[in-house]
Every structure is written in structure tokens, then in C-alpha cells.
């Protein structure tokens, strides 16, 4: 029998420890890291005897994936595999973040993993886990017992609203009450989600960008940047060059992850617009120029969400990279044409 591997989080990482081994059909380590193969993939394969698959080039049926290895900076991929119930190892130090952050939990996700964090799982840990599952099972049983005792009109684990909602003959008044309650609850839940997104996704990025702006403007590097950026981003030809470089098919998947590079470029250009070094109407073509690599790293995952066949993913990745390249520069040009009359 092959051994199991134990993966702990690196310093500043999140989640884990995960203990994984080959289990029936699940014998593939899939890495979706923009093409290169992280060293931990080899180590995991060596210990467990699993085979490795580059998820960027081909796809693997979900039920054959033992573990997914990703390099996500905190936007999408880090949540997608946990959502599907696939143990996920992130080589970046990303914690619970991104739109799917609720699926990122300690028992299925571990981040900032390098070779040192991967080791052979000892037998002691196996025993520990077993005892934990026994405990869980026994606590579930006691819960069941409690539930069977409650068969009265109102039960202690349900609110009056919930009990009413289950009754068959609702009076008009109850219906109105339930309807209003549902709408208000929807608003409240939407607000909770929105605040969560702001706190965990938008504000951290703002902090990072604000610090970047502070350092650029306060240190005098800003003048240096202005000298480089203004001739490049200050006219349509320079913007088209930026768009061209970002859309190169061998470069675009590397520039994609998390949109971080696009967002930093955008901020740099924004600073120059604010200072008056770049005319404001060029903001529109600039938006297109810094983002011609848009989602290029995400193609196999996105096609996976569309339940595409393996064949489609193998065709789709180069196809979308080519089409991004073909329409990258024209997008910038059209946006420039559309920017006439803006802020005049």
C-alpha cells in the first residue's frame, strides 16, 4: 500500500494540515499553475505514488483528482476546487478570500505550501484522526436522540416563523408576514455577503494599492515612473504596445492570476492621470490596454465550470489565447476612437 502525505501550511499560510493518499480512482495530482510545475507536485507524487497532470493543458475527471495544486492570489481558483470537494494546496499564502471564500476551510485547503511543508504522514496522526471520527459519530447520535423527542407544535430548534412556514393551511396574514420576512431576510443576507466581500476582498486590496501609491508618490520614484509611464500610457501608440505585450499568448497566462498585474498597472496610470501627466480621455483605451490578458490564466477552470469535455479544453486553451491576441490591440484602438469627446 502506498503512503499518505501530510501537508501543513507555511508561515503566514492558512488551513491544513491535510493528510491525503491515493484512494481508489483518485490517483492524480492536478496542478493549475499557468504551466510550470511546482516542486511540491513531484514530492507529493513521490510519496503517494500518484501521477501528476497539468490542469492547464488538459482536464481530469473530477472524481480522479486526489489533490489540486494551484497558485491563486485570492480571487477565483482558490475557492473553486474546495467548492467541488477536492483537497486544494495553494503555493501562495492566500487565506479565505475571493467570491467562493465560504468553501475555503481548514479541512480541505492549505496555503503557502513549499517542499518543506510536505512530509510522509506518520502513523500517530492516522490514529488521532480515527479517534476524532469516532467522537464525531457519537456526538451525531446524541443529536438524533434529541430530535426524536421533539414532536410538539413548536420545537425548540425552530423559530416560530419556520414552524409556521411548514404548516399547510396558511392564513392570509401569515402569508403576508412570511413574504415580508423573506424579502427583509434576503436584503439582510445580501448585506452580510456584501460586507464580507468588502472586508475580505476589496479593502485588503485597497490597503495594498494605497501603500503602493504612498511609496511611489512620497519617495520620488513617482517622478521616475512618470518619465516611463507618460510616454507609454500618454498616447494611443504606447497604449497599443502595452495591449500587444499583455496579449502575447505565451505571456498572457502568466500575467493573468488575480488580475493583480492589471490592477497595479491601472493604479499607476490612474496616478499619472490624477497628476495631469496623461490626458483623462485616454483612461478609456488604457482600461482595455492593461487588460488584454483578461482571464487567460483561467481558461481551463472556466471551461470546467461550463462542464466542457477534455477535448474541448485542449482545443479551447490555445484557441482563447489566440483570440485574445488577435483582438487585443483592436480593442484598444476602438476604445481610443470611442474616447473622443470624453471629458472635453
Amino acid at each position: 500500500m502506498s503512503k499518505k502525505v501530510k501537508i501543513v501550511k507555511g508561515s503566514g499560510g492558512f488551513g491544513g494540515p491535510l493528510v491525503i493518499g491515493v484512494n481508489g480512482k483518485k490517483d492524480k495530482v492536478m496542478y493549475v499553475t499557468g504551466g510550470h510545475k511546482p516542486a511540491i507536485v513531484d514530492k507529493i507524487c513521490e510519496i503517494t505514488g500518484a501521477s501528476s497532470v497539468n490542469g492547464f493543458e488538459t482536464s481530469v475527471p473530477e472524481d480522479e483528482i486526489m489533490v489540486a495544486v494551484i497558485d491563486c492570489g485570492g480571487t477565483l481558483r482558490c475557492g473553486i476546487y474546495p467548492q467541488k470537494g477536492i483537497p486544494t494546496v495553494n503555493i501562495m499564502a492566500t487565506g479565505k478570500s475571493g467570491p467562493l471564500r465560504q468553501y475555503i476551510t481548514e479541512d480541505i485547503y492549505v496555503s503557502n505550501v513549499d517542499v518543506d511543508q510536505v512530509s510522509v504522514a506518520g502513523e500517530a496522526e492516522g490514529a488521532e484522526q480515527a479517534s476524532e471520527t469516532v467522537q464525531q459519530a457519537s456526538s451525531e447520535e446524541t443529536e438524533k436522540e434529541e430530535k426524536t423527542e421533539q414532536e410538539a407544535t413548536y420545537s425548540k430548534d425552530k423559530k416560530i416563523m419556520e414552524t409556521r412556514a411548514e404548516q399547510e393551511n396558511k392564513s392570509l396574514l401569515t402569508k403576508i408576514g412570511l413574504g415580508a420576512g423573506k424579502v427583509i431576510n434576503t436584503f439582510y443576507q445580501a448585506s452580510r455577503d456584501a460586507v464580507e466581500t468588502m472586508l475580505h476582498t476589496v479593502i485588503p486590496f485597497m490597503g495594498f494599492v494605497a501603500l503602493l501609491i504612498g511609496i511611489i508618490q512620497g519617495s520620488g520614484i513617482g517622478d521616475l515612473f512618470a518619465n516611463i509611464m507618460s510616454p507609454l500610457a500618454g498616447n494611443i501608440w504606447g497604449l497599443m504596445i502595452i495591449g500587444f505585450v499583455c496579449s502575447l499568448p505565451f505571456l498572457s497566462p502568466l500575467l493573468g492570476p488575480g488580475g493583480v498585474i492589471g490592477q497595479v498597472l491601472g493604479t499607476l496610470i490612474g496616478v499619472e492621470i490624477g497628476k495631469g501627466n496623461i490626458p483623462p480621455n485616454l483612461a478609456l483605451p488604457a482600461l482595455f490596454a492593461i487588460n488584454t490578458q483578461n482571464a487567460a490564466d483561467f481558461i481551463p477552470v472556466g471551461l470546467g465550470l461550463a462542464e466542457a469535455e477534455t477535448k474541448t479544453i485542449e482545443v479551447g486553451v490555445p484557441s482563447v489565447l489566440y483570440s485574445r491576441f488577435l483582438n487585443g490591440v483592436p480593442r484598444v484602438f476602438v476604445a481610443w476612437l470611442a474616447s473622443f469627446g470624453l471629458y472635453k
Binding site: G214, G302, A306, T312, P330
Partner: protein, 183 residues
């Protein structure tokens, strides 16, 4: 001594500039985006996912519906990344093209509807904050971003139909043009 004080002041100044920028955003952009997010999240919940799925099923035949209407509505209703899941209603051949268009709609509509892709909002906001600093309205930029996107993202999806055919020939495979949905 003076030199050390100057140095320390310069050092703190780096962070003070950043702090001023940050609190400026916290007072202006954050509340606005938050209110938008709440309103949009509620709207989406009330409309429900089923309706957009129905639209997706009917959009397979026509490129204009497939690469313009569907990804635009999909990005609004399902947001990033779940809008890509609508591709499952399309034939295999068109899935890469839908992805190409949808990925771009997740940005071009983001200026007016930040709930679509809050994690990558700074693509728009980074540039737009310069506009704001000049005292000009951001909305003008956001609307033109959306409109140019509407046209160019459609063309992007449509071009991908051709690149897909090209790669098909290269790899000597043929992708099905028939819709195939399990379950």
C-alpha cells in the same frame, strides 16, 4: 541630528501619503460600492438563478445572443466566476468562445456594476481614481467602458469561433456543434 529627523519625517511621509489615499477611498468609494453590492445581491436573489438558465438554453443558436446578450446578462446575474457555468447550455464547439466573451464582460460591466467582480475592481478603479482626482465624473468613463465592451467582447467571442476551428484542424479533432446536457 537634523538629518536624522528629516530622514524619519521622509520615512513617515511615505506611509502618510498612502494613509491619506486609503482613508479617501474609505470615505468615498467604499460606501458607494457597498450600497451597490447590497442592492445587486438582493435583486439577484429575488430574481433567481433559474430564469437566467432558461435564457441560456435558448441562446445557443445565434452568435449575437450567445456572445453578447447571454454573457452580459450572465455577468450581471451570476457574477464572476459563476457566469462561466452558463456555458454548459452551449454546444462544445462554442464553449471556448463563450468563455472568451464572458471573461471580458466580467470587467467591462464592472465599472457600473461592481458586484460582478469586486475582487478585480481596481482594474477599473485604479484608472478611475485618477479621473476622480481631477474632479471629473467617473460614470462617463464607466458607461463608455460598458458600451465599448458590449461591442468588442461580442467580436472577441465571435473571433474565437474561428480560432477554435483553426486549433481543431491543428489538433485534428472535431468538436460537436450539438447541445448535450446531462440530467
Amino acid at each position: 541630528m537634523d538629518f536624522i529627523v528629516k530622514l524619519a519625517e521622509g520615512f513617515i511621509n511615505l506611509f502618510q501619503t498612502g494613509a491619506d489615499t486609503f482613508i479617501g477611498w474609505m470615505g468615498s468609494i467604499v460606501p458607494l460600492v457597498l450600497m451597490l453590492l447590497i442592492a445587486m445581491n438582493t435583486l439577484i436573489q429575488l430574481i433567481g438563478e433559474n430564469r437566467i438558465n432558461k435564457i441560456a438554453q435558448k441562446s445557443a443558436g445565434n452568435p449575437l445572443l450567445r456572445y453578447m446578450v447571454l454573457p452580459f446578462l450572465g455577468s450581471f446575474m451570476l457574477a464572476n466566476p459563476m457566469l462561466h457555468s452558463l456555458g454548459r447550455f452551449l454546444p462544445e464547439k462554442y464553449k471556448p468562445s463563450y468563455f472568451a466573451a464572458a471573461g471580458q464582460f466580467a470587467h467591462t460591466s464592472n465599472g457600473i456594476f461592481p458586484h460582478i467582480n469586486p475582487a478585480e475592481l481596481f482594474i477599473f478603479l485604479g484608472i478611475a481614481s485618477g479621473i476622480q482626482q481631477l474632479g471629473l465624473p467617473m460614470t462617463d468613463l464607466a458607461i463608455r467602458y460598458l458600451l465599448v465592451g458590449l461591442v468588442m467582447n461580442f467580436i472577441g467571442g465571435w473571433i474565437t469561433d474561428f480560432t477554435t476551428s483553426y486549433v481543431e484542424k491543428q489538433q485534428k479533432v472535431k468538436l460537436s456543434k450539438k447541445v448535450h446536457i446531462e440530467g
